[in-house]
């Protein structure tokens, strides 16, 4: 307490110095008078008396100084002094201060914004108890390393494993909800009973599915999301036990799931409805070999490692393969930790971006260091004088550090504001599939990060000029007077500029390669004409579900005709199975003349499109040979297929495919005849199609679907149409037409084909925009740095320039001389940068498939980047060089 009180009084003493000082002078005066009087009494002369009193006191000024020190807080006062002095110095050169603070704010802001993304996506723990025990589970198959798990296998895995505390599966689906206002397509997830308990999710109301309630043939139950409960049911408390009509069946509501529940692993997405997996109305559910898009999650038993669990599941899979050699051939359970499953695709991207943005900060710091070096040189005189007056070197260093820390904290504060804004921008730019993006926000960790980099930056660039001041010879500086410094002092600055140029070049190369990749990608042939193509989902009225094949086909024909009649529609086709860049599906088959394969693994594979006659025109796919389907290729006509040119080349070589026959797996006794060849369509996305092993494509007509699958078509199919009108108008009129036909059918997921295609590039575009932004920032900073150093060079050499001009040097010579200085630095930087870029680009290419169609050493990119860098560097040197030519030799010489 006493200490605190003293501290408080001393703090006061700092600001209240003047009054106390007078008081103390009076006290000392009276002290001396009394002492002198005593001395006089003891017989000294007045002179002796005074001298003696002062000696005894130990000096008037010294006493006052030690009193002052006790009065305030010396270290605090020194700091206060430093800060005030620093502020004065910074205010004296506002240009420098603004450039420094903005430079830092850019560097720190970009870093902080990106760090909040990295922090949210990669660093924050998952919001589940013991997230390290959670894994995703897939069925590894010979052709899909993470394939879907069949229902019978799931049950056997669940029963036979010894290392999992729980295993659950899920599959996305959609339901036509009727009886609550307009019919509506609602996203749902089919889940097994263990799904929510395994994650530790608790319902806000009601209960979760009990064990066995997820089995086939049980009562239809549904758990609804809090959002759905509020939106569709008015948050009524009595919804439990009420019934929802989904696809015409009644499901009893048993619980409400919290609104914040979300999970982004495998195919799972939070939905409005959760239904037990046993309610899946797909007849193939019980087939062991079926691939229905069902994926699993599991929790390891405590203490079990991933390897142990994987080994255990391997044994389980092998036993099942022995028991079901045909259906389970080559099927192995595959476990992947949650964290990895969620972020593995974006991790390299984020890390590369983090590295890039780190470089930007480094460049910013170098800039500040450079500016401070220039100032330190300009202030060498000041430091020398202060040194001569007794200021210790530590004291001077402290002054410099205080100034740079003030700059960096100001930059940090401004940077934080920039980052808050930048994070919002980033969130808009983020590819939608970026996992956990909802967890991105400014947090304590982000603030701490900013504070830390501000501190590090401040110390880093504050020390450099500080150490330089240390090395300087005081006498020399004082003697040199105001004439400035020798050129040797520019060495450090030159190297900093070279470093900046090199780093900027690396960033520019990265951004350039990304831009080139995207440009190449936008040139990739999609195989169809996406402009004007619209897609949407259509679900038949629930009353239709379970109708006869005849009624189903009649419905399809009517709906097709209604859409085709909508103004502006040029062509329309239903599409089931695969849809380019949106969904995929495979057809297994063998050719006529080949023996019937023993198992699926011995069959040929192709991407399967099940479409109507209008598909070719709606998509704008060229017909290469033969003909496409016509309305007469219906359920009564002979079975026909159309193939693409990849299929034709791969399976028929140079032979004419028209008239050849293929056995489709589902119609093994009814071979289909190839009637036409069409152009290859890009199925897997612009960047992936060429490298995907599965590229052969086969078309079948929807009218020839087997009965079982026709029933599924009614629950949801895609519609592809080509319209002359803009997307909104076209969708609205199609929606109207369909509601007129039957108000119970649902149109959902409207999208233009162009947006779907650009969506496949979202990740790359995100990387490109950020890299380009970082590279641009770096370029700006580097040019400021170059400008600063060359300007300084000119100022320092004003005398030389003046003398040269007096001796007859041309203004052009001077101009060239200055430019040559900048050019040398740029050339050095470019050479080092190119070497570094080659090394780094390899890293970039090997870490992820960010690049497309360009080599990391792409000469065109390199040349353009060097040209850009040189131009900017030239521009940065131009103005100081012009200033140099305006030096008046007479004035310079007179000043000597």
């Amino acid at each position: 307490m006493r200490k605190l009180r003293a501290l408080w009084i001393r703090l006061h003493g700092i600001f209240d110095g003047a009054g106390a000082e007078e008081d103390f002078s009076a006290e000392l005066e009276s002290h001396l008078q009394m002492h002198i009087e005593d001395n006089l009494r003891s017989g000294m002369t007045p002179e002796q008396a005074r001298r003696n009193a002062l000696i005894q006191l130990g000096g008037l000024e010294q006493t006052k100084q030690s009193y002052r020190e006790q009065q305030g807080l010396p270290w605090f006062e020194a700091l206060w002094q430093d800060i005030r002095f620093g502020l004065r110095m910074l205010a004296k050169s506002p240009g420098f201060t603004v450039i420094a603070v903005v430079t830092l704010a850019l560097g720190i802001g970009a870093n902080t914004a990106l760090f909040s993304v990295v922090n949210g996506v990669l660093l924050n723990p998952l919001p589940y108890p013991h997230p390290e025990e959670l894994v995703t589970v897939h069925a590894g198959k010979p052709n899909f390393s993470e394939g879907s798990i069949s229902y019978p296998n799931f049950r056997d895995w669940q029963r036979d494993n010894k290392t999992l505390a729980a295993l659950a599966v899920s599959r996305g689906t959609g339901y036509n909800l009727t009886g609550l206002g307009d019919a509506e397509e609602i996203r749902a997830e089919l889940v097994s009973s263990d799904f929510f308990p395994l994650l530790g999710v608790k319902p806000v109301m009601g209960r979760l599915f009990a064990p066995h309630e997820d089995e086939i043939g049980r009562e239809p139950l549904v758990i609804i999301s809090e959002g759905f409960w509020q939106r569709k049911l008015g948050a009524r408390p009595d919804v439990l036990g009420k019934v929802l009509t989904l696809d015409g069946r009644n499901y009893t509501i048993i619980g409400v799931l919290p609104a914040n529940f979300n999970l982004l692993v495998s195919n799972f997405r939070a939905a409005d409805l959760y239904v037990p997996i046993g309610q899946f109305q797909n007849p193939a559910l019980t087939a062991r070999a079926a691939g229905l898009g069902i994926h699993g999650i599991a929790r390891l038993k405590p203490g079990v490692t991933l390897e142990q669990a994987q080994a255990d599941m391997q044994q389980v899979s092998e036993r099942l393969e022995k028991a079901y050699p045909e259906a389970d051939k080559g099927i192995r359970a595959k476990l992947i930790p949650f964290q990895l499953a969620m972020v593995r695709d974006v991790k390299p991207l984020l890390l590369i971006l983090m590295g890039a943005v780190g470089f930007v900060l480094l460049i910013a710091c170098v800039n500040i260091a450079n500016l401070l070096l220039v100032r330190a040189n300009a202030r060498a005189q000041e430091f020398a004088v202060r040194s001569a007056l007794g200021a210790g070197r530590m004291r001077l260093l402290r002054q410099l550090l205080t100034e740079s820390l003030m700059l960096s904290f100001a930059g940090g504060a401004l940077g934080l504001a920039l980052a808050a804004w930048g994070t919002q921008v980033l969130l808009h730019l983020l590819p939608q599939q970026l996992p956990r993006s909802s967890e991105i926000h400014m947090s304590g960790a982000v603030l701490a990060f900013t504070l830390l980099i501000s501190l590090a930056a401040g110390t880093l660039f504050g020390l450099m000029p500080g150490l330089k001041v240390f090395r300087q010879n005081l006498q020399d500086t004082l003697k040199e007077g105001s004439r400035g410094s020798s050129s040797s002092r520019q060495g450090a600055q030159n190297w900093l500029i070279v470093f900046q140029m090199a780093t900027t070049l690396v960033l520019l190369v990265g951004a350039g390669l990304m831009i080139r990749s995207l440009a190449k990608l936008s040139d990739v042939d999609t195989g169809f004409q996406p402009k004007g193509v619209l897609t949407f989902g259509l679900q038949a009225p629930s009353s239709m579900i379970g109708s006869s094949p005849e009624a189903t086909l009649a419905y399809l024909r009517e709906a097709d005709a209604r859409i085709a009649a909508v103004p502006g529609v040029e062509a329309v086709s239903f599409s089931w199975a695969a849809l380019p860049m949106q969904s995929d599906d495979e057809q297994l088959f063998w050719l006529e003349g080949e023996p019937r394969p023993q198992s699926q693994n011995d069959m040929h594979w192709a991407i399967r499109y099940i479409v109507g006659p209008g598909y070719l025109k709606a998509m704008g796919i060229p017909l290469l040979k033969g003909r496409f389907f016509t309305p007469s290729d219906d359920e009564h006509a002979p079975r026909t297929v159309v193939i693409d040119d990849v299929f034709a080349r791969k399976l028929f070589g140079n032979a004419d495919p028209i008239g050849k026959r293929v056995f489709l797996e589902q119609f093994e006794n009814d071979p289909a005849t190839v009637i036409g060849v069409v152009g290859h369509v890009n199925q897997w996305g612009l960047d992936n199609d060429a490298v995907n092993p599965l590229r052969a494509e086969i078309y079948q007509t929807i009218m020839q679907l087997p009965e079982q699958q026709l029933g599924l078509v009614l629950m949801g199919m895609d519609v592809v149409m080509r319209s002359r009108y803009d997307a909104d108008t076209a969708f609205q009129s199609v929606r109207n037409a369909l509601v007129q036909m039957n108000h119970e059918q649902v149109v959902y997921n409207p999208a233009t084909m162009e947006s779907t295609i650009s969506g496949t590039l979202a990740g790359r575009r995100f990387a490109m925009i950020l890299l380009a932004a970082f590279a641009g920032t770096a370029l700006l900073l580097a040019s400021i740095g170059m400008y600063g150093v060359i300007s300084y060079l000119v100022v320092q050499h004003t005398r030389d320039i003046g003398v040269r001009m007096a001796l007859g040097a041309d203004r052009r010579d001077v101009f060239r001389w200055v430019l040559a200085r900048g050019g040398r630095l740029t050339a050095f930087g470019a050479i080092i940068g190119i070497a570094a870029a080659l090394g780094l680009a390899d890293v970039m290419a090997s870490f992820s498939s960010l690049l497309y169609g360009v080599h990391t050493y792409d000469p065109a990119t390199m040349l353009v980047v060097i040209a850009v860098l040189t131009t900017v560097a030239f521009a940065a040197c131009y103005f100081p060089a012009r200033r140099a030519t305006r030096v008046d030799p007479m004035r310079v010489l007179r000043m000597e």
Partner: protein, 113 residues
Amino acid sequence: MGDKTDVWQGTLALMVLKTLETMGPIHGYGIARRIEQTSGHLLALNYGTLYPALLKLEQEGYIASEWGLSENNRKAKFYKLTRAGRKQLEREARDWEQATAILARFLAPAKES
């Protein structure tokens, strides 16, 4: 000045407090002279060092000061002990005695041998 000892760090405050207890309110010069006399002129006291020490004690609230008139009718600042100062004096005196007693025990056998 002969064989004088410098004032040990920390003991000056104790001397000041004790002086104020003995003498009552007194000015800085008086305290300095008194300390010198009491020490039998064995201490080399720079009078100037007294004032920061007085200021520190005042900041800590052990002494208080006010302007008054000296015996020679001269304006001077008088210091006096506060209640907290009295307690502090007791505490410090006890600590000091204890410390010297302990040290004495260490030094005593050395004299015998």
